[in-house]
């Protein structure tokens, strides 16, 4: 097992800059999710860690050893592909044993380890089946079997659940996490699905346009987003953004939003007068007649225990999460209030979050 350290990794394909100065560390035994929309460079980053692509610049260290330019076969890692990449001309047993064959391990030892891997993944009964007849979840288990049988330094997974149906995906999320807890293997997992990332990861690295926007625990990613993109990408529905123009003093505990003062976590840096954005999670919006923002109810989405209420305001459409016991009429005028200790403020030009007391609670990444 190993620590993976990625430093200032850059990758260009011709004129396309796929990954820009990506840096993060995955500690020994940690489960890191690379999360981002498609085309953000997360898969390219993973493939560079695997050795399937060579970086344009930057370094990759496995347990301190610089492996940036090593061949994939010399890195001692396992990779699980989205489409499983099971060899169709081999049965399950030979597929799982394939990596061991290369190491010159004796047939008896190989078989022992294949059987052991199959037992862990509960596919012992499938060992002599052809891979082409397997269901999606079983194919995924075989692909995992091929990864764990070798006891590699770390696991890299490229959207391994992307090809499964929703129900199977739910089950596999728990299985994967349980497998990780059992093996304690350093894992880097690429996904575009925030629910997968939230459910499985110790830490999440959010990527956008080739840039790592934030690396933090799922809780910090959600509660203390480092940028407008992260705040917008994570959460469903995403964070509400209220644009305003103001300067900010260090230590300020309120901002001027329209006619009213809004209490915020104390600012830890000063900003000259500029375009700023106030970020509010839908669940931190409260309905009160004395609210600082007024608007008209546009519609509601019923979600069972809660409902999402869309309110048209001076700042655009805001979404609020409210207990479903309360009823709203379309067109009704309501007042909205925000929970002060949870608000984020962003610099609109750079998208960066302004440092406030909010960010002192969590571990920084």
């Amino acid at each position: 097992m190993a620590q993976i350290k990625v430093e200032a990794l850059d990758k260009s394909f011709g004129s396309f800059h796929a990954v820009k100065a990506a840096s993060f560390t995955v500690e020994d035994g940690q489960f890191l999710c690379l999360l981002g929309p498609s085309g953000c460079g997360k898969t390219t980053t993973l493939r560079m860690i695997a050795g399937l692509e060579l970086p344009t610049s930057g370094t990759i260290r496995l347990d301190g050893e610089d492996v940036t330019m090593n061949r994939a076969s010399a890195r001692d890692i396992a990779f699980v592909f989205q489409l499983f990449a099971l060899y169709p001309h081999m049965n399950v047993r030979r597929n799982i044993g394939f990596p061991l064959k290369c190491e010159g391990i004796s047939a008896a030892e190989r078989d022992r380890r294949v059987v052991e891997a199959a037992r862990i993944l509960r596919i012992s009964h499938l060992l002599d089946r052809s891979v082409s007849g397997l269901a999606g979840g079983d194919r995924q288990r075989v692909a995992l079997g091929r990864a764990i049988v070798r006891k590699p330094k770390c696991f890299l997974m490229d959207e391994p659940l992307g090809a499964l149906d929703t129900e199977m995906r739910e089950a596999m999320i728990h299985e994967l996490r349980a497998l990780h807890d059992r093996l304690g293997a350093t894992t880097v997992y690429v996904t575009h699905d925030q629910l997968e990332a939230m459910a499985m990861a110790d830490r999440i690295a959010v990527m956008n346009n080739g840039v790592v926007e934030q690396v933090a625990s799922p809780r910090d990613i959600y509660d203390r987003p480092a940028s407008l993109f992260v705040a917008d990408f994570i959460g469903s529905p995403p964070m509400n953004f209220l644009p305003f123009r103001s300067g900010l003093q260090t230590g300020a505990e309120a901002i001027r939003l329209g006619e009213r003062d809004v209490t915020i976590p104390a600012a830890r840096e000063a900003m000259a007068e500029s375009e700023l954005v106030l970020g509010v999670r839908p669940e931190h919006v409260r309905f009160t007649d004395r609210g600082m923002v007024r608007g008209e109810v546009y519609g509601t989405e019923y979600l069972g225990t809660t409902q999402i209420v869309t309110v048209t305001t001076h700042y655009g459409a805001l979404k609020a999460r409210s207990p479903s016991s309360r009823s709203f009429r379309t067109g009704e005028t309501v007042g909205l209030d925000f929970r002060p200790d949870t608000l984020s403020i962003f610099d609109k030009a750079s998208g960066r979050a302004i440092r406030t007391a909010l960010y002192e609670g969590g571990a920084h990444g």
Partner: protein, 317 residues
């Protein structure tokens, strides 16, 4: 659901259409088969039956054609023939009935062996080179890739015989005329462009993840190619091999021009089998019939792949 349970299916052809299409195919097959059947019939005719007019469909079968194909004979006086002992074998007795004796084996077998060596040799070489370069073109960023591929294809745009004279002169100078090696190299160079293009299509369809998985598991790229890519490309390789073999097996023009003795293949040899009073048609027909056997066997063995090979690329996954 079958067409019986639905009143009218939009996608399934009706029974009448299917019968009509079926009979067209059968008719076409019959028309195509007639020359072949005629050749096989002629192979078992006597020389007189072979050239009789009107042509005989019913006749007394004879193995004279095959005997004449495999032997050379010389005419003798009846007295001399009577002085010989009893005939040795069937061919000898047929020859004696025509006042001839068997003088020795003909050149058919060595020519046939030449054909086998040259056709299979060039097929193996063309497919091997084609697979490697198709893999390279499919997987690597080759500079000027499109131009190179077009250049490779363009070698097939003119009839190969257009370069026959330069090749003849060149082969004479470097001593490749009338050698098996020369013919193997020649057919390989004609076939390799076809092989590269066909196989590139097949290899493009094999996801890269398979090799990447193997390389991460500790194999070198070449090992991954052999253990993972080749087994999945067998269909394409088989189809390509059949196309290459058919070309090399049937090639006539270069064989006439560049071979005369040592390396002569069967196609230029068969039509010039001379009997008494001109062409020995039953022998020619017998030679042609036997000449068809290897290609039929090879095609039947690989027929599953061939169908897939002809329609490749038509359906995406």
């Amino acid at each position: 659901m079958t067409s019986a349970t639905t009143a009218h299916s939009v996608v399934e052809p009706s029974a009448t259409t299917r019968r009509f299409a079926g009979s067209l195919v059968v008719l076409y097959a019959i028309i195509t088969m007639i020359p072949l059947v005629w050749i096989m019939l002629t192979a078992f005719k006597s020389p007189d039956d072979a050239i009789s007019y009107p042509p005989k469909v019913m006749f007394k079968p004879s193995l004279e054609g095959f005997c004449n194909l495999f032997t050379t004979r010389s005419r003798q006086t009846p007295e001399f023939i009577r002085s010989l002992g009893p005939p040795q074998g069937l061919c000898d007795s047929i020859a004696r009935s025509r006042n001839m004796v068997v003088a020795g084996p003909s050149n058919y077998v060595p020519r046939f062996v030449n054909s086998l060596i040259i056709a299979f040799g060039s097929t193996v070489l063309a497919v091997a080179l084609g697979t490697l370069s198709a893999y390279g073109f499919s997987r690597f960023r080759v500079p000027l890739k499109d131009d190179l591929l077009f250049f490779i294809l363009s070698t097939r745009m003119m009839p190969p015989i257009a370069v026959a004279i330069p090749i003849y002169l060149m082969y004479r100078t470097i001593g490749l005329s009338d050698t098996r090696l020369g013919m193997i190299l020649l057919y390989t160079s004609v076939n390799v462009s076809l092989a590269v293009w066909l196989l590139k299509g097949f290899i493009d369809e094999i996801p890269r993840e398979y090799e990447e998985a193997a390389m991460i598991d500790g194999y070198t790229r070449f090992q991954a190619f052999v253990k993972v890519v080749l087994p999945q490309a067998t269909t394409g390789i088989a189809a390509t091999a059949i196309f290459c073999l058919i070309f090399a097996w049937n090639e006539y023009a270069f064989a006439v021009l560049l071979t005369s003795g040592n390396a002569q293949t069967a196609p230029p040899f068969i039509p010039i089998i001379i009997g008494e009073g001109g062409q020995d048609w039953p022998a020619v027909a017998a030679g042609t019939t036997l000449f068809l056997v290897p290609i039929v066997v090879f095609t039947v063995l690989l027929r599953k792949h061939l169908l897939r090979g002809i329609t490749f690329g038509a359906v995406r996954k």
